[in-house]
């Protein structure tokens, strides 16, 4: 198999020794079918054991190996070296604080995710004896796309509004809220609305659309947010017309 030498410029940062991050370059012999993660693993296994980064499944389902690759947020297990120039610049995901090397702190995202109540809120609890919850394929189709999110946070790294205002609930969390709002088994929309329809929620989004561009599973958070804006606007005016309605 053909081997090709690629220079990886990796942003390094060890809080115990470094004032600020700096690039370090590694020359890596790459196989033709390698992804960037394979090249980074080569650095770790052969050239420099001190490099820190996250990865797990190597097949684009676990969402842990996101990195900025030549400035674009990507899953490094799905970024093929054959599509890249001979110098590949690798940085930790943008818009998150750097813990160490390519590892970022995602606590803020986790909090945002929890804030939109990303779980089914049923009308009433149903005992197992009462049988299955029934949902038609058409009802499933309404939200299925938004279930494909793997929480890789590439969309947060791509979002300029999150970059400028960390209060923004952000693409993945809002898309997930939309997913549950559209679910025929769920009645939690009102409970989510206080977070979703706040200034820091959908209204912080200016529809740049970069989140949907970088999504590895075509979830389209930008579309989800636009749909939520329309639904929330309808809600808002309905609320004005019927102020006594329980909101």
């Amino acid at each position: 198999m053909n081997e090709r030498h690629v220079d990886l410029e990796i942003l390094r940062y060890d809080p115990e020794t470094d004032e600020e991050p700096a690039f370090q370059t590694y020359r890596v012999p790459c196989q033709e079918d390698w992804v960037v993660l394979d090249a980074v693993n080569y650095v770790k296994d052969v050239l420099d054991r001190t490099l820190s980064y996250r990865w797990s499944c190597h097949m684009a389902v676990c969402g842990s190996c996101g990195m900025m690759i030549n400035g674009e947020p990507m899953l490094s297990c799905k970024a093929f070296v054959r599509d890249m120039p001979d110098r590949i610049r690798i940085e930790p995901l943008a818009n998150f604080p750097i813990e160490r090397d390519l590892v970022v702190v995602t606590d803020d995202f986790m909090d945002k995710l929890a804030s939109v109540k990303p779980y089914l809120i049923p009308r009433e609890e149903k005992a197992i004896e009462d049988g299955a919850h029934v949902q038609t394929p058409a009802q499933l189709k309404k939200f299925k796309q938004y279930t494909l999110c793997i929480n890789c946070t590439l969309c947060y790294a791509a979002c300029p509004q999150y970059a400028h205002d960390q209060n923004f609930t952000g693409p993945a969390a809002l898309a997930l809220a939309h997913r549950y709002n559209l679910d025929s088994q769920d009645v939690g929309r009102g409970a989510r609305e206080d977070v979703v329809a706040s200034n820091a929620g959908i209204w912080e989004c200016s529809f740049v659309g970069a989140c949907s561009d970088v999504c590895p599973h075509e979830v389209d958070p930008a579309g989800a947010i636009q749909q939520t804006k329309i639904a929330s606007t309808v809600d808002y005016f309905m609320g004005l017309l019927t102020p006594e309605r329980d909101r």
Partner: protein
């Protein structure tokens, strides 16, 4: 443990130069300046129209000035960019589902362009083309 998470600075003024996608976004947003300015021209025109035939004639004459033509050319380019970017995202904002089938985005976009062509043709027809 001596954690010290490092936060990289993001420019608040020039961030959008970093990626082509951001530049396209800003071009779309800046279209509002031209749509707003053109709307102002229309308002001036309405005022001149209400001032009478002479004022309206003077207004029409001022539109022939090279600077006016240049402005309108630029405004047209941005207005067209607004139209294209606005229509192309309609399937995202307003998806249409029949049963299990999703109406293809191209159909929704195509319907908008068709409507646009009809409206434009109607206006041109009324203008005497």
């Amino acid at each position: 443990m001596s954690r010290r998470p490092y936060r990289r600075a993001v420019s608040t003024t020039s961030w959008w130069l970093a990626r082509p996608r951001y530049i396209r976004y800003m071009a779309r947003e800046v279209s509002c300046v031209f749509i707003g300015a053109y709307t102002a021209v229309v308002v001036v025109g309405l005022v001149r129209l209400s001032d009478g035939a002479a004022a309206w004639g003077a207004f029409l004459e001022s539109l022939q000035a090279p600077v006016s033509v240049a402005f309108h050319l630029l405004a047209l380019a941005f207005a067209l960019y607004h139209t294209v970017t606005w229509f192309n995202v309609t399937p995202k904002a307003m998806p249409v589902q029949f049963g299990e089938a999703q109406l293809p985005g191209g159909v929704i976009i195509g319907a908008h362009y068709t409507g646009w062509a009809l409206v434009s043709a109607l206006v041109l027809f009324l203008a005497g083309v």
